[in-house]
Structure formats: C-alpha cells, structure tokens
Symmetry: C2
Subunit: 237 residues, 2 copies
C-alpha cells in the first residue's frame, strides 16, 4: 500500500502562480491596507508562497504596480465617438473619479508609471477618438484632454486629502484645526469652516459634477467658436 502523500503545507493550498492571481490579490491587499501594506512579502504570503516566487512572474515590484494601475483604468467607462461629446466625457470623468476613490492608492501611483498597460492605452485612445469625432483639432484635443484630466485627478487628490470621511468626522477635525489657529488669525478660513464646512449637508464631493460641467461647457463653447479667440462677447449685440 502506498503511503498517503502528505501535502507539504496544509494551510496554504499550492495553486500555481499566474500574473492574474497575483494582480487580483495585490489589488485586494492595496484596497484593504493601502499601498504601504502592499509589500512583496505580504503579497506572497496571501498567495501561499515565498516572496521570491513573485520575481518569476514580475521583474520587480514596479511591474506589479504597473499592472495594478492598468486594472484601475480598465474599470473606467470607455467613451464612444459621438457628436454629444460632453455627455460621454462627463460619464467617463465620473467613472474615473469613482474608480480612483474606490482605489485610493492608485492616484499616487499614476505619476510614477512609465509603462502604460493595454487597458490604459485603450482608455486614452477612446477618449482621444471621442474628442476628435466631436470636431476638436489636435491642439484643441490636447487642451481638452489635459484640462479634463487635470480637473478629475486634482479633484480626487483633494477629496482623498480630506482628513475626514463622513460628516460626523468634520466637526472633530474642524474644531481641532480652529483650536490650533490663533484668535483673530485666518478670519476667512474660520468663516469658511464655521459657515460652510460645518453647515448641515456639506459634502465636498457633491461639487464634482458642478465643476466638471463648468469645465466641459467652457471647452464646448470654445469649440463652437471655431478657433482660439477668447474675447468676451460683451457690449451691444
């Protein structure tokens, strides 16, 4: 009778490593613990493997992060070419904000990526195609894309930087901040916190669609005016 083969590590089922499994687990760790929790050792541990095994599938940690960022781009809406370009751009921007808020660690990784993945490339290609189809020439497309992305990334950056998560937190943080400031110092900041940030129903995020439409409408108006003449249509018409 053959002796029962005892598996070497009972608790950690040894499934074969694949890029897909690594990326999926890495995403879960980053979402749960933040980017600082995503270490090669932790990632390997959750995969039931030693850290060094990861280097057979990814050149280094940076390559793992590249794949993660590409995954986030894959979660965004892919805009379609249409004359109603603002509504497609709006939907894309809204989904981009959602993806970046859902994965708060991603925004900080964007600027260090040098190797855009296939999903990132497809996303950018689709957005460029939508702008071109709307009638923007290449310089106008560049301006529109840069401005929209600036707004989205910058808004999320501020949103993630807020030291509170819900309206319940606001009071504590605001009180702390105002206590740290002197008596008559920073009157406008005091007014803003007391009169706006602490007002019932305050939500930083609720401003996102308003500012977004401001940007999109301004770009659309500029497009309608053919070329870049920026003079106000003031005075008698």
């Amino acid at each position: 009778m053959a002796a029962p083969r005892k598996s070497k590590t009972e608790g950690a089922p040894k499934i074969r490593l694949t890029r897909e499994r690594v990326v999926a687990v890495a995403l879960a760790i980053a979402d749960a613990e933040g980017s600082s929790g995503l270490t090669m050792r932790a990632l390997a541990g959750r995969l039931g493997v030693q850290a060094m095994s990861l280097y057979h599938h990814f050149a280094n940690k940076d390559a793992v992060l590249d794949a993660l960022v590409d995954e986030v781009f894959g979660e965004m809406h892919t805009p379609r070419p249409t004359r109603a370009w603002t509504s497609e751009a709006r939907r894309t921007a809204v989904s981009a904000r959602e993806a970046l808020v859902r994965h708060p660690w991603a925004l900080g990784l964007l600027d260090s990526r040098r190797a855009p993945g296939p999903k990132s490339l497809a996303h950018h290609d689709a957005m460029l195609g939508t702008l071109r189809a709307a009638g923007f020439d290449l310089p106008q497309t560049a301006l529109a894309y840069a401005t929209i992305d600036a707004y989205v990334y910058g808004f999320v950056q501020q949103e993630l930087a807020l030291p509170f998560d819900g309206p319940a937190d606001v009071e504590g943080v605001a009180g702390e901040l105002m206590a740290g400031m002197g008596e008559g110092q920073f009157p406008h900041l005091m007014e803003f916190i007391a009169g706006h940030a602490l007002a019932p129903g305050y939500s930083f995020g609720a401003q996102f669609p308003v500012g977004l439409d401001l940007v999109l409408d301004a770009l659309d108006r500029r497009l309608g005016r053919e070329d870049g003449d920026d003079s106000e249509p003031r005075g008698g018409c």
Copy 2:
C-alpha cells in the same frame, strides 16, 4: 600646557540642530534626490549627526514632511483682496505650479498631510479672502477654490508624470511607446503622438495658462450671473 582639545568629529562641524536647519537640509535633499532619497539617516548624515538626534526636534518623519510641505506653500504668491480677482487667482495658480514643479516630491505628499502649517493656513486664508472680496458667497467660494486647485494640482500631476523632460526626449519615448502598440491598434493615440506630441514646438506645459483662463473665466461668468443658473444665453438678446 593643556593638551589641544581635539574635536570629536573633524569632518562634520557640530552646530546645534534647529528645526530650521533640519527643514532646509531636508528640502535640499528632496530636491536633489527625490522623496525616496530623504531618509532619516541621510538627513542626519548631511547634518553631521546621528539619525536619532532628529527625534528630539520632530516627533517622527511625518512631522518633517509636514514642515516641508508648509515650506512649499510659503513659496507661493499670496493673493490680495481685489475686484480683479481673476488676475490675482491667475498669479497665485501660476506660482503654485512653479513651486510644485520646482519641488516635484511635494505633490505626492499633499494628500497625506493632516497638520497644515502656518504658511499653508495663511495661503488658504488669503485665497478665500480674495474670492469673498470678489463677491462669491460661501458655496460659490468653495466651488471656485476646489475647481481652481483641482486644475492646478491635476495639471502638475500630469506634467510630472510625463516620461520626458524636454522635446529631445519626446521622440525616444514616443517611438518606444508606438513600437509597444500593435499595428492598427490605438489609431487615435498614434495620430495624437505623431501629429501633435512629436510636432515641432510641442510643450505640454504651455497649455497651463490656457486651461487656467478657461477655468477662471467660466467661474467669473458664473459669478456675474448672480446665482447658479447654468442656461446658455442663446437666442435673441
């Protein structure tokens, strides 16, 4: 004759540590080596001291980073209250971009700061004061400030993410990117790179003032329209 007192460490003059010296040297290291080069050991080394000495002046590394970010805010233009708010906001935004590009490590630290320093507070107070003096009410001020900052931070984020520094680099990077993409894949991206990014005189940064004025003018127009009615003044006037 008294034996000549030999200084304990010849090469490293032992000046007394102060917060100011630490911050100044930390800023120099971050500018030169990036934020990854700014370690407590490296910082201490440049100050002729052991790493642990720093903990007598700062609670931890985070407190050092707080002070650094405050320094960057201190380099920005402080806007004054004026009816011509757009020109003050423009000058402030331009100086903010300059400071953030001068210190590329700073933007990534903004979102993790929980304790704004005095220069940061003064900067925010001045900007809020300028918007209020221009006639914005509190909700309008919140929207304007959030939108302007979103544009500035997001634009710089993209600018810093560009994998090239000058027009000389563009060709190499673009070629590499286009080689990595398949044949007929991503046609709009190909067109954009070949027809715009590689065109002579291309500069991503040159778009900054254009997009900025787009945002500022849109906010100013909204202000003129009293309240948030966003309908286009189309049709016979």
